[in-house]
Symmetry: C2
């Protein structure tokens, strides 16, 4: 493995950017140099990492000239502009936005699920949507054992998915202040709201991501996905209620054993002791927690379950860093545009 | 209609009991006398109603001797004991607990859905579970238009479903106090928890109610119901994400028009203007709010929707008072045990 990696984090001052830096430090990612990039208005900020001070630079076309890999988390518009520029300079981009996910030349990667899709990448690699990542980890094992037919998912999503502004709005409302920034025209505290609607569509953008991304990651272009995404007043992570129909008969104990042996998954399922995945206990953890696994009421070829993960960690930062690790470990540095 | 009704409210000091009193006042329920009953430990409390003071009496076997109708909301054990005693004395019981709901001699009533099931009652009438009531109102119209085949429901339930103790625990946690009473060993604030598990079962009691009660109310004993019930940190009402498979092709605009003409339902569905049902805006309303109605992604014989109602009102108090009104209007006072 190379020890001369020049690494950049784009959007280093944002909620996910800062989490990426934390995860890089925790996992002891081996780099030679670390460049922190952000929009011009955040340039000059100082961030401490590994007991060193790093100054954030404003992003520009030449920012990637000597960078080997850049972890982007600066929103879709910045990724649309700068990811191709970076790739042109020979820098691999791991992009956390939705800008490139459905591009057929861009692999969409969950390291535990489809690592082989990284081979032959063309410089830009996409990190899936937070709620997609935890779901496909749960679905992959079901597919291997019983064959996936249909998935109905309802999400219980953390306000932190909308970044620092979302957290501020919720906290201000709960503590009785008038929020000075808001991500929703509606109150978040003691309420549920939906994400932005997709133009001319009754589905939200978040729901469409959760319909399309799993099909690509799991290589099941016709997988029947039905999704309702809801934001609830929590901060620690996302919950997902899944109803899954399968090709073969479901064997719950077989599935539980398989989950216990799957990297990235923690089986948390002892209803007799009131033990199940919770949003609060998933906070700041890198795993996907699965529980409430039970045969469907009406069919032996269906099951229900409950899946929780920290949306900023496995749903964003951790997954992105894991992709970078995969590239390093498998020496996937070379690419054709 | 009689104007000499002797009315009792059992569990008058509880969260639902007080809401029943409020709803009786608002709807101007015509009674001659009102008796407030509760456990011995609440006896002696004074409750103001219609500008009159009412003293709460401790419940005993003779409490129902001169009562025509009693609205019970004092928990399952009290209903198990006192509902038959009341009925023996000729008093009709409208019971809000789960004690009698699945008894084949007890009608389970949502006035907009199955009012005819009241005929031939034997003195005890059951009010369905809060989350059931709002769901069957939504399902009834779908069934009439397209035929129900399968329903997958995930709930987003208010802590107020656990009574005053639930509200206190959540508020204490949010305001940084150590709760002196709790309904869950887990923190409710910024978290999601499940209801009590049904003994020897991976389903919760709440989930099993939502599987069984709609089948009885809709007269569809084989309706395929798959349910996951989740408590979220809200107070104003319950949300429900519904995926519904139908016998015939779904026509969304036909369904919307039908909802607009259905008593008890408010269609709240303009995604282009970010208008959809919310838990906060349903609070203290008697209607069921339906929105996010959209064709399924994968089938023309399926749809998704979002249903919200105040669980203490339409989910409990209002529905119970409406049952009492039905009895009065249709003169269903006589019954055989």
């Amino acid at each position: 493995m190379r020890s001369d990696i020049n690494l950049a984090v784009v959007g280093a001052t944002g909620l996910v950017g800062r989490k990426i830096l934390k995860v890089l430090e925790e996992r002891d990612f081996n780099y030679k140099s670390l460049t922190l990039l952000a929009s011009e208005k955040s340039a000059g900020q100082i961030i401490n990492l590994n007991r060193k001070e790093h100054i954030v630079s404003g992003i520009k076309d030449s920012s990637f000239d000597n960078i080997d890999i850049a972890l982007f988390s600066a929103g879709g518009s910045a990724s649309k502009i700068f990811a191709p520029i970076a790739a042109q300079s020979g820098c691999i981009v791991v992009d956390n936005s939705s800008a490139w996910r459905m591009d057929e030349n861009v692999p969409l990667i969950v390291p535990e699920v489809n690592p082989d899709d990284l081979k032959g990448h063309r410089g830009i690699i996409a990190n899936p949507n937070c709620s997609t990542i935890q779901m496909v980890l749960a679905l992959q094992t079901v597919h291997e054992l019983f064959g996936l037919k249909k998935v109905v998912c309802s999400t219980y999503q953390s306000i932190s998915g909308a970044g620092q502004k979302g957290i501020s709005q919720l906290k201000d409302e709960i503590e009785g202040r008038i929020p000075d920034t808001r991500i929703s025209p509606y109150q978040l505290a003691y309420n549920t709201v939906f994400h932005s609607f997709s133009e001319g569509n009754n589905y939200t953008e978040e729901e469409l991501k959760m319909v399309n991304e799993p099909r690509k990651i799991l290589h099941l272009p016709h997988l029947e996905m039905e999704v309702t995404c809801v934001r609830i007043p929590v901060l620690g992570g996302h919950g997902e209620s899944l109803y899954i129909e399968t090709e073969k008969e479901v064997d719950v104990s077989k599935l539980k054993s398989a989950y216990e042996e799957t990297a990235g998954i923690v089986l948390t399922d002892k209803p007799e002791n009131d033990i199940y995945p919770m949003i609060l206990s998933a906070e700041d953890k890198d795993s996907v927690f699965i529980g409430r696994i039970r045969k469907a009421v009406n069919s032996s070829k269906a099951l229900n379950m409950w899946v929780v993960a920290d949306n900023l960690r496995k749903g964003a930062a951790t997954n992105a860093v894991q992709i970078a690790e995969l590239i390093a470990v498998n020496d996937l540095w070379e690419f054709d545009l």
